[in-house]
């Protein structure tokens, strides 16, 4: 009898990666979230290959048709294949969710860091402006901005990103305020670190888990926001498909074909939950203090 031992992995990078993977795998919800997110992302990227029909292809022999082998989820009032439109629509949602979040993070985090680290008048100015902006609900801000910028997916994304900034600024500022008091900050100063090093090497990495969680809240927020803007006619313009546009179209046929509203609604809900759950899992595994 021999015991087969797994080969010892000595490369520390590989070891850490393995550890992270193991931790992640122990969280079934997070794994499920990741799977769903991946499905959505892959769907969005490979929409042209996956969709059985073109986004605008109409079949006048099957208007408002029930699900069948030809149209798996049925068709809408113009005879367009619902499944195909859902798949094409994922593009707008994922794009808006991803880029709006990136935009919010890239702009807002440095602003919050500067405010929290330097304090003084610069902090007062930044904090008061954010407070004023936070008084407006996220979606109102986004709608207002989108109305100013004009309707298109790009402008809707920018509007959503900007609308998400005040929240991110406040969180980054709060974290910076707390982290600048940690003992390793004066220790770094004593070692000759300049402000830039302290802010970006010592303070920022210590707030990544917080920011990660925040990002995973913004992504679904932006996905829903994109749907709202498109529903209101401020985002993606028909006939280009988007879940919001589909909801808008389905509105008039709620009585006859409620499923037209249910499909995009479900897609939005599923995508939002998946990102949230994934974010929670990521926060847990990246925190070096997590032992499980």
């Amino acid at each position: 009898m021999s015991v087969v031992e797994a080969p010892a992995i000595t490369n520390p990078r590989a070891r850490r990666r393995m550890l992270l993977r193991k931790r992640f795998m122990r969280r079934p919800m997070a794994v499920a979230g990741l799977v769903v997110v991946l499905v959505f992302v892959v769907t969005a990227i490979f929409a042209p290959l996956l969709a059985p029909y073109g986004a605008g292809a109409t079949d006048f022999n099957a208007l408002l048709a029930h699900p069948s082998s030809k149209h798996l989820l049925g068709t809408d009032e113009l005879g367009r294949d619902e499944l195909s439109r859902l798949i094409w629509g994922a593009r707008a949602s994922i794009q808006a969710g991803f880029f709006a979040t990136v935009l919010a993070m890239v702009v807002a985090v440095p602003i919050g860091l500067v405010a929290g680290y330097y304090r003084g008048w610069i902090d007062t100015v930044i904090a008061r402006i954010t407070d004023v902006l936070l008084a407006f609900p996220f979606i109102i801000l986004a709608v207002g901005l989108a109305a100013i910028l004009g309707p298109s997916l790009k402008n809707a994304t920018i509007a959503l990103g900007v609308a998400a900034m005040p929240g991110v600024i406040r969180i980054a500022r709060g974290e910076a305020l707390a982290l600048r008091e940690e003992d390793y900050v004066p220790a770094a100063v004593a070692n000759g670190a300049n402000d830039f090093t302290i802010i970006f090497r010592h303070i920022l990495p210590n707030m990544t888990s917080t920011l990660l969680v925040q990002a995973t809240l913004i992504i679904p927020g932006a996905i829903i926001g994109e749907a709202v803007l498109s529903f209101l006619g401020l985002g993606v313009q028909p006939p280009t498909p988007s879940w919001g546009v589909m909801l808008q179209d389905a509105q008039s046929y709620l009585g006859q074909a409620p499923r037209l509203a249910v499909y995009p609604g479900l897609a939005i809900v599923l995508a939002s939950i998946a990102f949230n759950v994934l974010g929670d899992g990521l926060r847990d595994i990246f925190d070096p203090r997590t032992t499980r």
């Binding site: 520390p12 990078r13 850490r16 940690e182 003992d183 390793y184 004066p186 220790a187 770094a188 100063v189 004593a190 070692n191 000759g192 670190a193 300049n194 090093t197 090497r201 010592h202 990495p205 210590n206 990544t208 070096p288 203090r289």
Partner: protein, 328 residues
């Protein structure tokens, strides 16, 4: 005699707080020679840490610093922020009291040490890594090539303090300022850390300023001791003289309050009560125009309560600020 490495003259530090000024350090002068270990002792709040932190301006902005601190030919107190950053961690480095929190929890140990190297010496990543392994070896951390990639929480307290020392030594500093480096550690580890510091001085010729309230620690490794009280120098002497013939009643009080097991034990096992210094450190809100120790001093008299005692030599290298110096 050669010029001292660090010469501090009339250093005063005042904190302007909302409740008025606090005089943390008052006209303190001292020198530090190359390769020397200077112990600074005193109770909490007597200005030990503030003195050292003021040298490279690590104090909050409310601190008002005056005087001169000439280090290797340049006056630290008139240096630009940029010039200071070049000196911090390179020529003068610190080891702080709290090893548990002074390391950044999300950066690997090796990275944190390496950062000092890349910053000050422009070392490449690979060079920094190799030098870091050397440093960890120097501070006697076992398996340094593995520890390098660990996070601070994976190390014990003593190990973290060694990492802090390694970081402080990274650029071969001329002065290492250790602010109560052993206070947060348990006794066996303390001995190891002190041993290490002694070793560092011998091998690298680093001057060390050791701040502590533990006279036992000082006796162990210092060459010269500076006793501070209420922001002023009370006594300064070579370590042997200070222990053999303490002159200032405050020093005598400090030495008397070290617990010595079995010393003075009677035959039936009775032990003498540990002595204490009555009273407390005076408030530093106002600079007393008399001897700051007068209220706690058994030798206090009219003169003590009306005039600030000047520092004077009782021996060629033994300074005391007291009107009634002398051993008990």
């Amino acid at each position: 005699m050669a010029e001292p490495l660090l010469e501090v003259t009339d250093l005063s530090v005042r904190f302007d707080t909302d409740d008025g000024p606090v005089h943390a350090v008052d006209k303190l002068s001292f020198t530090l020679d190359r390769g020397e270990v200077l112990g600074i002792v005193g109770e909490s709040g007597c200005g030990k840490s503030v003195t050292c932190m003021s040298l490279v301006r690590l104090l909050p902005e409310t601190a008002v610093i005056s005087g001169r601190a000439v280090f290797d030919g340049t006056d630290l107190l008139s240096l630009s922020p940029r010039g200071l950053r070049a000196i911090r961690g390179r020529d003068i480095s610190f080891v702080f009291q709290e090893p548990m929190t002074s390391l950044n929890p999300v950066l690997k140990v090796g990275r944190q040490i390496g950062e000092v190297l890349t910053k000050h010496l422009g070392a490449s990543r690979r060079e920094a890594r190799e030098r870091t392994i050397e440093l960890l070896h120097l501070v006697r951390i076992p398996a340094p090539h593995r520890r390098l990639d660990e996070y601070p929480h994976q190390l014990s307290g003593g190990m973290r303090q060694r990492v802090m020392i390694a970081m402080a030594l990274a650029c071969n500093p001329k002065v290492l300022i250790a602010d109560e480096p052993t206070t947060a550690l348990d006794v066996t580890i303390q001995a190891g850390v002190l041993d290490l510091m002694r070793d560092v001085r011998e091998r690298l010729g680093t001057s060390i300023v050791l701040i502590t309230h533990n006279l036992g620690v000082v006796a162990d490794i210092a060459d010269r001791v500076l006793v501070m009280y209420a922001g002023r120098k009370a006594e300064e002497a070579p370590v042997r003289d200070l222990y053999a013939e303490p002159q200032h009643p405050y020093t005598i009080g400090l030495l008397g309050s070290i617990p010595l097991p079995f010393e003075g034990e009677t035959e039936d096992g009775e032990r003498p009560r540990l002595r204490e210094i009555p009273g407390r450190v005076p408030s530093l809100r106002e600079l007393p125009t008399w001897c700051a120790f007068a209220d706690r001093c058994p030798r206090a008299d009219e003169l003590t309560r009306s005039t600030v005692p000047e520092l004077r030599y009782v021996r060629p290298d033994h300074l005391v600020a007291c009107f009634h110096p002398g051993p008990e």
